[in-house]
């Protein structure tokens, strides 16, 4: 755990917002900075626990790996998959210019 009390900077908030593709107003940036500060200060308590020799748990389901056979099954009406598209053209999803 990061030592001591974390303080998130506005720069960090903006960096994370870029990663998450969220446009934030200045008010939102400020608000999120203090909210994240509060949450991260709260989760600091996890640092009290010695987890050196503890294995992480990422799932609590049952063991076993179900698999499907390699058969083609995509039965849907043509165009059905594009019906919700905000913009489409010739069967494609249409988007503004993609910048590399």
């Amino acid at each position: 755990m990061a030592p001591g009390k974390v303080t998130i900077t506005l720069e960090q908030v903006r960096h994370v917002a870029r990663l998450a593709r969220l446009e934030l107003s200045h008010e939102e940036e400020e608000r999120l900075r203090s909210d994240m500060d509060e949450m991260l200060a709260y989760v600091e308590k996890l640092g009290e626990l010695d987890t050196q020799n503890v294995a992480p748990t990422s799932q609590v389901g049952e063991s076993g790996t179900p698999m499907r056979d390699d058969v083609v099954t995509n039965p849907h009406a043509p165009g059905e998959m594009l019906a919700n598209a905000p913009a489409r053209e010739r069967g494609y999803f249409k988007v503004p210019k993609i910048i590399e």
């Binding site: 593709r21 909210d35 992480p56 609590v60 389901g61 049952e62 503004p96």
Partner: protein, 486 residues
């Protein structure tokens, strides 16, 4: 008379339907009438599917002419708007999905359709199931039927309120950190969060995939058992869904808890919890003793760390699960010069404050340099919490706790304080982290007449045992159940 049919339980309606004393159409109309009469006050429903419901009811009546119609044939249900329903708008209470019409059914929806159930509408919820009060709905909160100035709980508040107000006989919710049990408790109804993997998640809009579970709200434990039999079971579309056979949960309701060892965790009776809540749960424990169960003092030492671990794990998973809402294939789009601006503006406009808050926290917890300190640490603490329960179940068969430290709080009371809101799930979150089944049922009322709920937690796949325990309590009339008069 007909207008009272909506007050029936599933078990009661099932028998009358089979005996053709009532029709599914009458029953459905009664529920639709009730919705028309009271939902303006409650806002339990985001959408009422009147035409579809009538058609489903008529189809059910045709089917009920045959002797062996399924248990849920003709039963009017409320569906949390988190379930993909083919051809019916599914918003997850978010602006970003305001007009999304799924071309497919969630697995449990398909199962219910198969049994001839009737869907009266899609119920309100916290946006993307992120909340404990349904105040985070992009379309306005749901009011508590027992006090319209108070929250119904969340995130499945609409379903809880709809059942409590007799707008439907039962409803579907989802539970990631308490989202079935807490609103069930606040609204005075029964709700069960099954063992993780017991019920398919396919078609259930994901919040935190390793924690989300599907479950029912009902007026009685028996009705919850009837619902569970249909909901549970393997699904070839969900690799995390258990292949175990599904028992007849209703048959397990023997009313007998003699010899049952009930664990009472000291960490669940804490400072700051309302005396009325503690008293009601303690009284329920005494009642269990009178029924022949024994109480065992147990400890779940890592309880105090559950909320912290939960908010790192759940938000991390959510940050990826919600990345798909980008305005390209479906949902809201805010047009822009280039694709990146389109993403950022669409998501800024489409997501509410709490969703943004959790996406930000989760993205941070996974980002370079912080993964080990936050996300990985939380996954390790999750292991410790699981082990707490494994150890506890060596000395007891089930654990009884309060569902929440308080009864329903006032609308707006916690909206400005996220952490306070998160802490209202303090007694339910560990159960999701450990993947255990948890049943919430009414065990009394506070001075203001607000319902109090108790939680019965069992080992993995012990749904029969905890339902039996809940039913035994309920049928011995420990508390006189008050219906919400609106």
């Amino acid at each position: 008379m007909a207008s009272e049919l909506n007050r029936l339980t599933i078990a009661g309606a099932r028998d009358q339907l089979r005996r053709r004393e009532i029709s599914a159409l009458e029953l459905t109309r009664a529920c639709l009438d009730r919705i028309a009469a009271v939902d303006r006050k409650l806002h339990a429903f985001l959408m009422v599917c009147e035409r579809d419901a009538i058609a489903q009811a008529e189809a059910a009546d045709r089917r009920l002419k045959a002797p062996d119609a399924p248990a849920l044939c003709g039963i009017p249900l409320g569906i949390k708007d988190i379930y993909a329903t083919r051809g019916v708008v599914t918003t997850c209470a978010s602006k970003i999905l305001e007009n999304f019409v799924p071309p497919f059914d969630a697995t449990v929806i398909a199962k219910l359709r198969g049994e001839g159930a009737v869907f009266v509408g899609k119920t309100n919820m916290d946006e993307f199931a992120m909340g404990s009060s349904t105040e985070n709905s992009a379309f306005g909160p749901t009011m508590n039927p027992h006090d319209l100035g108070r929250v119904a709980g969340g995130s499945s508040g609409g379903s809880a309120a709809a059942v409590a107000a007799d707008e439907c006989l039962a409803a579907l919710g989802t539970d990631t950190g308490g989202s079935i049990r807490e609103p069930a408790s606040f609204c005075g109804v029964v709700g069960i969060k099954p063992t993780y993997s017991r019920v398919s998640r396919y078609g259930v809009v994901a919040y935190a995939s390793s924690l989300d579970q599907v479950g029912p709200f009902a007026k009685t434990v028996r009705d919850a058992a009837i619902m569970m039999r249909t909901l549970a079971g393997a699904d070839p579309s969900d690799s995390t869904c258990s292949a175990r056979a599904v028992p007849d949960y209703e048959r397990a309701l023997s009313g007998d808890v003699k010899g049952m060892r009930i664990g009472v965790p000291r960490e669940y009776f804490i400072e700051g919890m309302e005396p009325a809540v503690e008293n009601a749960v303690r009284a329920a424990l005494k009642h269990y003793q009178s029924l022949g169960a024994s109480l065992v003092d147990i400890s779940l030492p890592h309880t105090g760390y559950a909320v912290a671990a939960y908010y790192l794990i759940a938000t991390a998973e959510a940050s990826a699960n919600l990345a798909r809402y980008d305005g390209i294939r479906y949902g809201l789009r805010v047009n822009a010069e280039d694709h990146i601006a389109l993403y950022e503006m669409t998501r800024a406009r489409g997501f509410g404050a709490e969703v943004k808050r959790r996406i930000m926290l989760g993205t941070f917890a996974l980002s370079a340099g912080y993964y080990d300190a936050y996300y990985l640490k939380a996954m390790k603490v999750r292991t410790l919490i699981r082990q707490d329960f494994e150890r506890a179940f060596e000395t007891c068969d089930a654990i009884v706790t309060p569902v929440a430290p308080t009864t329903a709080f006032k609308l707006g009371e916690k909206m400005t304080d996220p952490l306070a809101m998160y802490l209202s799930d303090i007694f339910t979150i560990s159960v999701n982290l450990a993947g255990l089944p948890g049943l919430a049922l009414p065990c009394g009322y506070d001075g203001a007449g607000l319902p109090i709920g108790m939680q019965i937690i069992g080992p993995p796949f012990s749904e029969e045992a905890i339902l039996r325990a809940g039913d035994a309590y309920e049928r011995s009339n420990a508390v006189a159940k008050r219906t919400a008069e609106l």
